[in-house]
Symmetry: C4
């Protein structure tokens, strides 16, 4: 009871115990965190001190993976679903996370090196990445982001279809629909940003990622809609 109270006031948690789908996923997430964190063993003091750049890069990967894990965790706690569709969507999510972990590490390493002076000459930078390749980069990483939120949309839509069997309250239905809408919004935003990166001139395209801040706006709109639905349902029953 305490767990539920503290963590998630709007929902009754149907999946109290850790199911095997969750267990398998946790292990994959933990392995992905470990792969993200692996650096070479330092063999001298100088190498040890040089690890700080890697630590920043690892922190960025951690933040993204744990964001995905948290959404995954809450989904399974709230609905406790464990059927073939959930296994399938979940497999897709694990697949995405596993094949993208090294590309993510590559990207965060690049960003950290770029902004902390890890590259000594401009030639070192272009050996890794040139400005004209940035749109494809947006397609690769934006595609990952869109795919992950696409899976979240599918999972929550699946929960919504089983709302009666799960005995979801009107409030719970409304917040489940919020998750679907927010996820779809994020997918569309990602696709729009990818399109923009290809359309805009290269020098500006690199900054189109700033638009991901609009996720806050999407969350705000969807949340307002969810609250309105809860209020309507409340006045209808009273």
């Amino acid at each position: 009871m305490t767990r539920q109270h503290a963590g998630d006031p709007d929902f009754r948690w149907r999946g109290e115990n850790v199911s095997r789908v969750e267990n398998l996923s946790d292990i994959v997430f933990a392995l992905v965190l470990t792969l993200a964190a692996l650096q070479s063993i330092p063999s001298s003091f100088d190498e040890l001190v040089g690890l700080w750049r890697g630590a920043i890069s690892i922190a960025m990967c951690f933040a993204l993976i744990l964001l995905i894990w948290r959404t995954h965790h809450i989904f399974f706690r709230r609905y406790g679903l464990d059927d073939g569709w959930v296994t399938g969507f979940n497999a897709l999510l694990l697949f995405l996370v596993l094949i993208y972990i090294y590309p993510l590490k590559f990207m965060t390493d690049f960003v950290v090196n770029y902004f902390t002076g890890g590259f000594e000459t401009a030639a070192e930078v272009t050996a890794v990445l040139t400005l004209s390749q940035v749109p494809v980069l947006y397609a690769i990483y934006g595609g990952f982001f869109a795919a992950v939120y696409g899976v979240f949309a599918l999972l929550h839509a699946h929960a919504l279809r089983h709302a009666d069997a799960l005995e979801l309250t009107a409030q719970e239905r409304s917040w489940t629909r919020f998750e679907v809408e927010f996820s779809i919004g994020t997918v569309l935003l990602s696709l729009a940003i990818i399109a923009l990166a290809f359309v805009l001139p290269d020098a500006i395209a690199a900054f189109s990622g700033i638009l991901f801040a609009m996720m806050g706006l999407i969350a705000w709109v969807c949340s307002a809609r969810a609250n309105a639905r809860v209020l309507r349902a409340g006045s209808a029953t009273s």
Copy 2:
């Protein structure tokens, strides 16, 4: 309750909690998925883009491993058995999955490279594999498939022997027998395909794997038999 309802209408689930045998197996499965997914960290944009072939190959390994995991998962949920025999059969299954993961990756890499133009000359292909080696290949991979389904046959036969202690209903007994029959059918099919690959001329032998589609036929026949048993049991008690 919701979990069971959504996932498996024919069975009462006896193993609600994750036992340690399952936990150990989940970790091994997750590690195997991770091993299948490991690629080298890209060091430049060009290497990053070149990872797409690996992604297809990984997806194929994932599909096969998760198919095995799903059968394993349902077995433990349904019967909740945890004795010496189950530990032993399970150890055999983990052993098979662990020693075959790299050979599987080798095979899917080869297939993906072959069909997407990853090899530049025919000499590159034959350096990896020649047509005359195909029958042995069928023996290696068909043998894996036969062994995995052999273990599933043994596990379900073991559950059937303890049907009284587990208080299986007539319907549950019938569907457990279905699993035994389907698994044995798959073992025999695999052995037949291996035999065929050795008997047929090399050029045709490579395609004998198409016959694995007959698993659908086996499932259909065994399922018809299971339904007939359920009906007979139903009319006998009424």
Copy 3:
């Protein structure tokens, strides 16, 4: 019941089942233990015998990691909290443990080599580490220690803020406060030792780590304060 009785007489355990945050953490801890233990596969008898130095170094890493794991374990058993703050603090802890495991192994390897004659000449030692680098070393490892205990202080302070919702008894509140005080004391001690390592002359600075023995004194003071609080609470209610 037996579990609680044997392990922790002062507390009622609120988190009986393993939650997903704990599961994820356990996997990361186990991976860290494995990373700490990895050595190369010996290829001859002589290499096999040469592994004994590594074994001592691994044992030292194990002791430190399992000390952290034990505190982590008891926290989750006692309070069963699972909200956003706990997930966040926990993520920070996993991050610290993962990025520090190889630096720790580097340090223990160095210490074991140094004291068991693993280095043949003084030049080999200074190639890895010179005396003037010792203060920075204290900053790196003392910083890790301070950060870990800082997270423990935050976690227990968080539990204390939810004391009413968790229905903690007066005794449990007092011992939770003990954990907060002891953790903060350890953080301050670590920072003082780092400062000392920079202020003292190099030859003496290397030994400032001996002051970590003062953790026993901190534990003793905080524990006396906790017992006094329990007594006061007992006399107030009677």
Copy 4:
């Protein structure tokens, strides 16, 4: 209920749920199994076929690790203990298994190569191992075996000390004592075999391992003693 019935007729299982100590251990065991199973990814058909020797060697490591895991598993199911001593003994066990996995793989690889003609000349064998090194080898591996069974003896003795708190029946006490006696017997046998390997001439010393078959005799004697105790306790109460 079914789980207990099928697996362990003499004991009531006190630890139904998987505790965190067990979870951590399972992950370490699964990682050890995976490390034992890792081979290089084959890059051609010939390398693929050459993996069969490794598979035999892996199977031998698996058998030994799963034997240890099974004893560990049953201990935690039966007594459900989770205090500081158990954590400590368990940490020692994990440490032993982790540092010995590569040495074990080295040994099984050698044995498999030796008996299946993996070495082409006698010089290749002696480059890895000479006859005069065999006694030290017995000390290394016999020491591992003795240490593992020493930990099992300590764990079961610890359970026996808490017999009243755990409410063990007379039968359960007797079979717990059996585990203590059998473990101590195995420790003494291992030490005797090591001593013998040093005392005997080299050519014979290599075969002193055959005496491990005497574990069957030890099990038989301890089991007879346990049955006698159960009978005595039965006649005393009637």
